[in-house]
């Protein structure tokens, strides 16, 4: 079992969601985060004093999948999240050892999705 964590542009979320559904991946979580990379920082002036807005709003997606679903999920995100420009984001994959479904208490591969 793997966890996929992706950092993407907020305006790509809907496209990625659609592609995930099409690939039969229906379980994930999403939240807001703020990222720094080589994207230009914005320098603004507040009441005459400079300030640097160096953290850009991004969306973080987390998907736990069985091993055979990893590629599909990654591809869906790669495809849906791409504009080809710096700032498009990253995907990270890391192992998980156990998974439980709280509603039933069941453990293991079947608990991750349907």
């Amino acid at each position: 079992m793997k966890m996929i964590m992706a950092i993407v542009q907020p305006n790509k979320l809907n496209r990625i969601k659609k592609l995930l559904f099409e690939n039969n991946i229906n379980r994930f979580i999403v939240d807001d985060c703020f990222g720094h990379s080589d994207e230009d920082s914005i320098i603004e002036t507040y009441r005459g004093v400079e300030m640097e807005l160096d953290l850009k709003h991004k969306i973080r997606i987390q998907i736990a999948v069985n091993d055979d679903y990893v590629d599909r999920a990654v591809n869906a995100i790669l495809q849906g999240g791409k504009s080809g420009k710096i700032g498009d984001g990253k995907i990270f994959v890391y192992p998980i050892e156990r998974c439980y479904r709280i509603a039933t208490g069941e453990e293991g591969e079947t608990s991750i999705g349907d």
């Binding site: 603004e44 002036t45 507040y46 009441r47 005459g48 004093v49 400079e50 300030m51």
Partner: protein, 421 residues
């Protein structure tokens, strides 16, 4: 009183009461501006300060301040009319005192903004009491005592009476100088300056609040200025018109100036500009013509923007909402401007114009300078004494940890927002 007089008196009461209600609403406006331009973690503290300085101030002004300000004067302050003794049994007096009370509350509230995000609540209450109960009414009596039973020395200058129709100096710039003394005594917020002394931006947490606050203040200001006639007659339309003209010019020039200097039209500066235009015209709203208003407002908008940056980055005095610039600097400018643009004759109000540029010579300008200088001296003097004393005996500033966590939790045990629950 004959029947006409009774009717006019009734009309005056209606008008003055409504103006007082509008000025009362300034408390909401000030609270919103101050909250909007500071951080979320101190919003409740700001609410409490505004609620309490009005509440405590009302009581104090009713009982003590009104006497000091409008009682028969010993030359320096009023000496009778305390504990509402001048009020009871006379309907007009209630109206008059109510109107004056909401003015008095304004002065203390101005200080609140400049010292926001780091002042001990108890200390705030203490110095508020002194400002509304003593400092404000004493100097107020110098310029406005004769509105009731007093007689102030600034009303009898040999160069002619000091003119401050609705309080650019009596209310606003006094508040501004007290704020200056306060902000200097308490020092800047943690993190406001780098170790090397470079100013850092600490953006306000809710600009829509600040904007709503400015619109509420603007609305209230019509009551503040036009209501200061305490007469429901034809002049109020002119005063309101002149007031509005200065306000709009203030916001326009502040926007343009910030655009030119800092590359983008700055919202908080434009909002400050409108307030600066309002503060600036308050002294002369009944005495200048539209050209005067246009110029007073335009200069106010630029002055406030320049002054905010200067005080922040050069003087390194941390004034989160720009109170010193808006009220102190622009209040002084507007008051002096009456000596430049006084157009009483042109307006059909008097035999002659008093403004230097309107053929009135230098005298009025001198009177204005004397007035402005004496309020500035009084504000700074009493301000430093007050704040240093409070600092010594009670402490002025919360601990660094409290400042970091925020006054809302530390002083009032609650957070302002629970948006995700």
């Amino acid at each position: 009183m004959n029947e006409f007089e009774v009717l006019q008196h009734n009309l005056n009461t209606v008008w003055t009461c409504l103006a007082a209600f509008m000025v009362f609403f300034m408390q909401a406006g000030f609270a919103l501006v101050e909250m909007g331009l500071t951080r979320a973690k101190n919003a409740i503290n700001i609410i409490m300060k505004n609620l309490m300085d009005f509440s405590i101030g009302s009581v104090l002004f009713f009982f003590i301040g009104a006497g000091l300000m409008f009682g028969e004067s010993n030359g320096f302050f009023g000496t009778n009319g305390f504990f509402l003794s001048g009020v009871t049994g006379n309907d007009w007096s209630y109206t008059f005192v109510l109107f004056q009370t909401v003015f008095a509350a304004t002065a203390a509230t101005i200080v609140s903004g400049a010292m926001a995000e780091r002042t001990i609540f108890t200390s705030y209450l203490i110095y508020s009491i002194f400002i509304t109960g003593i400092i404000y009414p004493i100097s107020g009596s110098w310029a406005w005592g004769s509105l009731a039973n007093g007689s102030g020395w600034l009303e009898h200058l040999s160069t002619g009476a000091f003119i401050d129709f609705a309080g650019s100096t009596v209310v606003h710039s006094l508040g501004g100088w007290l704020a200056l003394a306060g902000a200097m005594t308490i020092g800047p917020r943690k993190g406001k300056y780098t170790p090397k002394g470079k100013a850092r931006a600490i953006p306000g947490h809710n600009i829509p609040y600040a904007a709503l606050g400015v619109f509420i203040l603007w609305l209230s200001w019509f009551g503040f200025n036009a209501g200061s006639t305490t007469l429901g007659d034809g002049s109020i339309g002119r005063i309101a018109f002149i007031t509005n003209l200065s306000a709009v010019m203030g916001s326009i020039t502040a926007m343009i100036y910030s655009w030119v200097m800092y590359k983008k039209p700055d919202v908080t500066m434009s909002l400050n500009g409108a307030l600066a235009g309002l503060v600036g015209i308050t002294a002369g709203c009944a005495n200048v013509d539209w050209l005067g208003a246009l110029l007073i407002g335009s200069v106010s908008g630029i002055l406030v923007t320049y002054s905010v940056v200067f005080i922040d980055t050069k003087l390194k005095i941390d004034d989160p909402v720009g109170a010193i610039s808006v009220h102190g600097v622009c209040g002084a400018w507007g008051t002096i401007a009456v000596g430049l643009f006084g157009a009483e004759k042109a307006l059909g109000l008097a035999e002659a114009n008093t403004g230097l540029f309107y053929g009135g010579g230098i005298n009025q300008l001198l009177s204005q300078f004397i007035g402005v200088a004496s309020f500035m001296a009084w504000g700074l003097l009493t301000g430093f004494i007050l704040f240093k004393t409070v600092k010594k005996f009670v402490g002025l500033r919360v601990t660094p940890d409290e400042e970091y966590i925020g006054l809302d939790i530390e002083e009032h045990g609650l957070e302002a927002y629970q948006l995700t629950k």
